[in-house]
């Protein structure tokens, strides 16, 4: 371990540097005097002896320097000296320094923000004890198991502990002025101990405590105002009293991941509940072993507790809950991972543009510094040493840029952490700076330093060698032009690609926002009412509430019609598939279609035209002739051009049903869908009735003024029910979300790329023109008209700009094609208009960037220009 010992003795030396120098001096003096003493004894005069001894020793300074440098970390001291020199150089040129740092900061800010977002979304570690040994367990091919099966697995002795939770559950929180729907996680009472969740205040829920709840930090802040005395308070949830046991920390991340952020954890209260199983692997047990033991246990379960046709031993899975295994273990995540990969590529390109900007500024600077470099080379600095010094300058720039970029990152991520996405389940990411961001930033600094600095440093020193101490060139050398122009060409090409993607997503957003979903959203109101399931044990109880609510809603002045629906379009869907056999003699077809249950007047409220037949009536109740309504697509698919009204259909092994009408096509699940089939049945056919009631109301005028009255009426019917009422146009956010996210991120990345490329283009052209001021002055003095000079400058930039745009458009044509998966079909990624627009925008920017320096050059008087150095 020689290296270690050497390093240690060098480090120890750092503290003795002062005494070391004086001791070394003394030692050398002693050496010289000893020699002088000897010479004196051989008969030399004292004075001559000393001089002779000194001569023999040689340069004491050099010996001292060499001895001292033995103890130093040479590269470190060089680096410190280089950094100091670089800092001085940057301070001398603040315009250059601030421009490059800003470019890098914008690029790095965008890049690291998307990195933080992706890392948090895809690879967040749940806030539980030892996530590596916690696994998610599937039995019978299902993500959820009934309570009886849960207990069987728990007691089978395979795992150190098994807990269950249902994250898609809701509870009504009853307060004085009505009830509020909360997003809860229903968990088995051993959940906190098996998963190992820690609380910030109070204590976790312990086995046997079925009346305790634990709040999340966000919910405690939002709805309790961060009340410090919350522990021990009671809450009425779904009509039952609970006591607050604890509050989770602010950075709590659920085992579900993906930013899922419930309001509170509540113990399972019903035997009917189904829970997702989480198990703690015993030390040393792999997921494979656990799975095979679990299969054996499930076979035992199937033998001893048979459940109809359900075979629990089939579809057994043991999955990781964190890291790369979680992503690769589930096909569902692949498109999400692909989306984030695309974002990373986009911001990677933005960063490349920023680096290219700084590189071209450095190139300009290196040629301006030719003289300085030449002097240093000629007095003995090696070329490698100067390249290292120039790279250190870039390193300093990259460090400053990254620091500023990280500040931007913190601002943006804290903003993102506060966005609550309009999804049916609450998602909120907790993005905090962590070791991953640190490691990534170090990587970014390194890459930026080399990408930005290496080429200018090598080129700069080469030129300095050739141009040694000659007069600085007046005519711009050809080779330098090629490199800098190539940089601009590359920047333009990349920004064409970025702008194209950004524009496509922006057009997609415009398209989606203005697209008619096929039903009215201006005067429709969606009133959501969640009944406490335990209080509605019979279907009749629910039906009574529905009928009473519809009755009272219809009587509100200003309301034209009211109805009820099982799934609100574009806010949740139910797809069914099956063999559809019609009575028209044609062979049965297999169809996948949206299956909804709607009340009377639904089509009237939604303003979906009935094309043939009739809509559902109050008389379509259980016991009457079963009827259904098809949308146009489905009617045509089954009956062709024939009128289907009065015909019967049989879907799978359901009883035959008569077609009562055909409704116009509309959007059901996404705005992007096309030719979707839809099949409606009367709401009363829904069995068993849902505890989630979705009323739809049609206002005569402005829907907003009716919201309080609707809330009041529904609350009066059942004060334990949670009510959420909003105009239908507000409820479109979910449908618009993918387009909005895509447009926001890619649109801003495209604009950022354009801005950076424009700065780069301007910088290069302005520099080019400034190098030619003398030439321009000469031309003007010899009688060239301003128009001619302008044409000369413009033609130069035209070549660069058109090459860059040509290459960019060619790449973009291929690069945007995979985007179609994320777009609505009306927006075709390869639409010529997109590219024409991008070309026009970039062309305008290029014209501005060229014309400004050219005009400035023209405004310089020829007499001044000719003397311009």
């Amino acid at each position: 371990m020689g290296v270690l010992r050497e390093t240690l003795s060098r480090v120890r030396h750092l503290s003795r540097r002062q005494t070391f120098d004086s001791e070394l001096d003394e030692e050398i003096r002693f050496h010289v005097e000893c020699r002088a003493g000897e010479l004196e004894q051989s008969g030399m005069a004292r004075h001559d002896a000393l001089a002779q001894a000194k001569r023999e020793f040689g340069s004491a300074v050099r010996a001292r320097e060499q001895t001292r440098s033995e103890w130093q970390f040479p590269w470190l001291e060089d680096l410190v000296a280089d950094l100091r020199y670089a800092a001085r150089a940057l301070r001398r040129n603040p315009a250059f320094a601030s421009a490059s740092i800003t470019c890098l900061a914008l690029g790095i800010g965008a890049n690291t923000t998307i990195f933080s977002l992706s890392a948090e979304f895809l690879f967040s570690e749940p806030s539980c004890r030892d996530p590596q040994s916690l696994v998610r367990v599937w039995i019978g091919g299902s993500s959820a198991a009934p309570m009886r099966e849960y207990r069987f697995i728990r007691d089978a002795g395979i795992f150190e502990g098994v807990a269950g939770e249902n994250e898609e559950s809701e509870v009504n929180w009853q307060r004085q002025d009505g009830s509020e729907r909360l997003y809860s996680v229903r968990m088995t009472d051993d959940y906190f101990s098996v998963v190992g969740l820690t609380v910030a205040a109070g204590r976790p829920i312990e086995p046997g405590e079925n009346d305790r709840v634990v709040l999340t930090h966000r919910f405690w802040q939002r709805s309790m105002g961060g009340d410090p005395n919350i522990i021990g308070r009671s809450m009425i949830l779904d009509g039952r009293p609970y006591v607050v046991a604890g509050v989770l920390p602010a950075d709590h991340r659920t085992v579900t991941g993906f930013g899922f952020s419930p309001d509170l954890y509540v113990p399972v209260s019903s035997e009917e509940a189904e829970v997702t199983l989480y198990a703690r692997l015993p030390r040393g047990m792999t997921r494979q072993i656990a799975r095979s033991r679990l299969v054996a246990a499930c076979e035992e379960l199937d033998r001893t507790h048979p459940t109809g046709n359900q075979r629990w031993a089939e579809g057994v899975g043991v999955f990781a809950i964190s890291g790369i295994d979680r992503i690769s273990g589930d096909e569902m995540f692949m498109p999400i991972a692909a989306f984030f990969a695309m974002l990373m590529i986009v911001v990677g390109l933005v960063l490349l543009i920023a680096c290219a900007n700084v590189a071209s500024m450095l190139l300009a600077r290196a040629s301006g510094r030719g003289q300085e470099l030449a002097v240093r080379l000629s007095i003995g600095a090696s070329r490698g040493r100067i390249i290292r010094q120039l790279l250190t300058e870039t390193l300093l720039l990259a460090l400053c840029g990254t620091s500023a970029g990280l500040v931007l990152n913190l601002v943006l991520t804290s903003f993102i952490s506060h966005i609550r996405l309009p999804l049916p389940i609450p998602l909120q990411l907790v993005i905090r700076p962590d070791w991953r961001l640190l490691a990534y930033s170090i990587g970014v600094v390194t890459v930026c330093t080399f990408v930005t600095g290496l080429m200018p440093a090598i080129k700069g020193t080469r030129e300095a060698i050739s141009a040694t101490l000659k007069q600085e060139e007046r005519q711009a050398g050809r080779s330098r032009w090629t490199v800098r122009n190539a940089l601009v060409v590359a920047q333009l090409a990349v920004s064409v690609v970025l702008l194209s993607t950004g524009l496509i997503f922006t057009r997609n957003l415009v398209q989606a926002s203005t697209m008619s979903p096929g039903f009215d959203i201006q005067r429709t109101i969606w009133a959501y009412m969640r009944l406490v399931p335990e209080a509605y044990t019979t279907p009749q109880k629910t039906r009574t509430v529905v009928d009473r609510a519809l009755d009272e809603l219809r009587r509100i002045p200003g309301i034209e019609a009211a109805s009820i629906v099982h799934r609100v379009p574009l806010n949740g869907h139910l797809t069914t598939g099956g063999q559809v056999r019609a009575d028209n003699g044609l062979p049965p077809v297999h169809l996948n279609f949206n299956n909804n249950y709607v009340g009377p007047d639904y089509f009237k409220v939604m303003e979906i035209p009935i094309l043939q037949g009739r809509e559902f009536l109050a008389s379509d109740r259980p016991g009457a002739l079963p009827v259904a309504i098809l949308n146009e697509n489905m009617a045509v698919r089954i009956f062709g051009q024939a009128n289907p009204v009065g015909h019967t259909l049989q879907i799978g092994d359901r009883p035959p049903i008569t077609i009562a009408g055909v409704a116009s096509n509309s959007k059901y699940f996404t705005l992007g869908e096309e030719n979707a089939l839809a099949y409606y049945e009367p709401y009363t056919q829904l069995a068993p009735p849902d505890a989630d009631l979705n009323f739809l109301v049609r206002a005569v005028g402005n829907p907003d003024v009716l919201l309080p009255e609707i809330n009041r009426i529904l609350t009066r019917i059942d004060s334990t029910a949670a009510i959420e009422t909003r105009p239908m146009h507000d409820a479109m956010s979910l449908a618009l979300l993918p387009s909005r996210v895509g447009a926001a991120i890619l649109g801003s990345a495209g604009l950022l790329g354009l801005a950076l490329a424009a700065i780069g283009l301007y910088g290069v052209l302005a520099y080019a023109v400034s190098r030619r001021i003398r030439e321009i002055g000469l031309r003007v003095a010899l009688g060239a008209s301003p128009g001619r000079v302008l044409r000369l400058v413009l033609s130069q930039s035209l070549i660069v700009v058109s090459t860059g745009m040509g290459i960019g458009l060619a790449i973009a044509l291929y690069a945007v094609q995979p985007l179609a998966a994320f777009l609505s079909p009306a927006v075709r990624p390869t639409d010529a208009i997109n590219f024409a627009l991008v070309g026009a925008v970039l062309g305008l920017v290029a014209l501005g960037a060229t014309a400004a320096p050219a005009l400035r050059a023209l405004s310089v008087a020829p007499s001044v220009a000719l003397r311009h150095e």
Binding site: R5, E6, E27
Partner: protein, 112 residues
């Protein structure tokens, strides 16, 4: 460099070995090391004074030597260098390697 010398230059890489060998008989200060090398070689090997102290410090860093202040034979304060066990091991190693090298060279010179 540039200085006229009648003595041969030290073989590269042998400086450490010579210093270590000189110190194997007991601690010495820098000047005494140089002097002993010169005398023991019959004035034919001279350590350039300028290169002695960097070499001594290099060996201090490597842990082959220890240095402490003491009183010289002419009653002056001087820095004495002493061999450490690692230094002794290094000396044996370098001496053995050097022997082998010299023997091989001699073999070639006689037979080839």
């Amino acid at each position: 460099m540039g200085k006229e010398r009648s003595t041969p230059e030290l073989l590269p890489g042998t400086l450490y070995m010579l210093v270590l060998r000189t110190l194997s008989r007991g601690p010495l200060h820098g000047y005494a090391i140089a002097k002993r090398v010169r005398e023991a070689s019959g004035q034919s090997l001279v350590i350039e004074d300028g290169s002695l102290y960097p070499a001594l410090n290099r060996m201090l860093i490597k842990g082959w030597l220890k240095a402490e202040w003491g009183i010289s034979e002419n009653n002056r304060k001087a820095r004495f260098y002493r061999l450490t066990p690692e230094g002794r091991k290094q000396l044996d190693k370098e001496a053995a390697e050097f022997d082998r090298l010299v023997r091989s060279i001699q073999l070639v010179m006689r037979t080839a």
